[in-house]
Subunit: 232 residues, 2 copies
């Protein structure tokens, strides 16, 4: 690629990092921890959050975790409506005014939406990214932690084909395990591929549909919400 | 969004359109028709092509269609290896040197790979795009026709959430229908949503896994290969 394109790309990422730090500072001041939740389209980000919230799983020994959701979509508010029905504060962020519909959230988009998020009323902000396994991994938005969801219907090869995404997160949630009996999918091969691109990364097996394993994901979210240390 | 950003975006798309026309002229001179095949990650682009080729379905009354594949991936050559095993010429195009791994093919990337494609030996070039429901829809690469694959595991709402992709194509292939008995997926709702964003667009129901319906997709590809008229 041309050197000038490399430089533009680096400038974009540098500017993004600066704004991400400003978002993070706002979260810190409000005592809010933020999770950037990423996946391919249809892997189950919203379904998993729905299950966590509907089953009242988001709590610690100290009590319920007050959670809000920032919902990123190219267009529409279908997911926000689903989550609002569960009585959590949801803010919709559409990327459609961007370059034909931006394929990811960046720090500036999140910043532009923060005025509509009641940070003082929550402890945990879940930022649901646009469904995409490439660009969301490149743009930090001020989050404390990143999780990604990979559905078993997508195949074993995805960590090798989208390595940056599988490396960028500290938790990989393997969803739709209720479908395993009906697929030619080797969980062993998937986990082997995951280990090749991100050795030792935490993973958990869940089914948002049946609720299997979802409690572990809720516990992970609660753990982030109660984190005291601030990783760089 | 800022006016300057709009202008940059438009310049990028104008430059892309110019190069796409050059690709198209090269295809025309060689008597080759090109299909841009798009989908989310793991929806089954490669599996569907494998099934078409392994079952020898790509033919017209006039004989077999000589097909080549240009395989777009962020990284790796897993899909190219799968298809090469079926004795069709496959050219790998990795987007990894780009902006942290480009999330789509554009006309210039395709152009840079064309030197490695033996156009004189084929009639149909299937260009398998990067798995993504956003940006691939924005960049023409010189194709005669565009098809996209939507897996039933991704949910009924995808046409509403990624409308540009579902509008940009002339064929929507609904894959993994063998899983319908195991999903909470309403085909009627999906097709209703599709009709809202792209009224009357052709669609077909297939399972790359069982082979169900795949002949219709092969027939569509063969039809493109034998197209005489050149749509604008």
């Amino acid at each position: 690629m041309h050197r000038s394109k490399v430089r533009v790309a680096q400038d974009v990422l540098d500017a993004n990092a600066t704004i991400a730090r400003a978002n993070r500072a706002d979260f810190d001041r409000a005592g809010v921890r933020a999770v950037n939740l990423m996946s391919a389209p249809g892997a189950g980000k919203t379904s998993l959050l729905e299950r966590v919230l509907a089953d009242g799983l988001l709590h610690t020994p100290g009590g319920d975790v007050r959670v809000g959701v920032l919902e990123g979509d190219v267009r529409g508010s279908l997911d926000a409506e689903r989550l609002s029905a569960l009585h959590v504060p949801v803010t919709q962020l559409n990327t459609d005014p961007g370059f034909g519909g931006e394929c990811h959230l960046d720090a500036n988009m999140v910043r532009s939406a923060l005025g509509a998020v009641a940070l003082e009323e929550i402890e945990l902000l879940v930022i649901e990214n646009v469904g995409n396994l490439v660009c969301p991994a490149e743009f930090r938005v001020g989050e404390d932690a990143r999780a990604m969801i990979s559905s078993v219907t997508e195949g074993e090869d995805k960590p090798l084909k989208y390595p940056l995404m599988f490396r960028a997160c500290e938790l990989v949630v393997v969803n739709k395990i209720d479908l395993l009996p009906h697929l030619d999918f080797s969980l062993e091969d998937f986990l082997g591929n995951l280990d090749r691109v991100n050795p030792g990364v935490a993973h958990m097996l869940v089914s948002a549909r049946t609720g299997d394993g979802v409690e572990a994901f809720a516990d992970w979210l609660a753990g982030v919400a109660r984190r005291q240390e601030l990783p760089a």
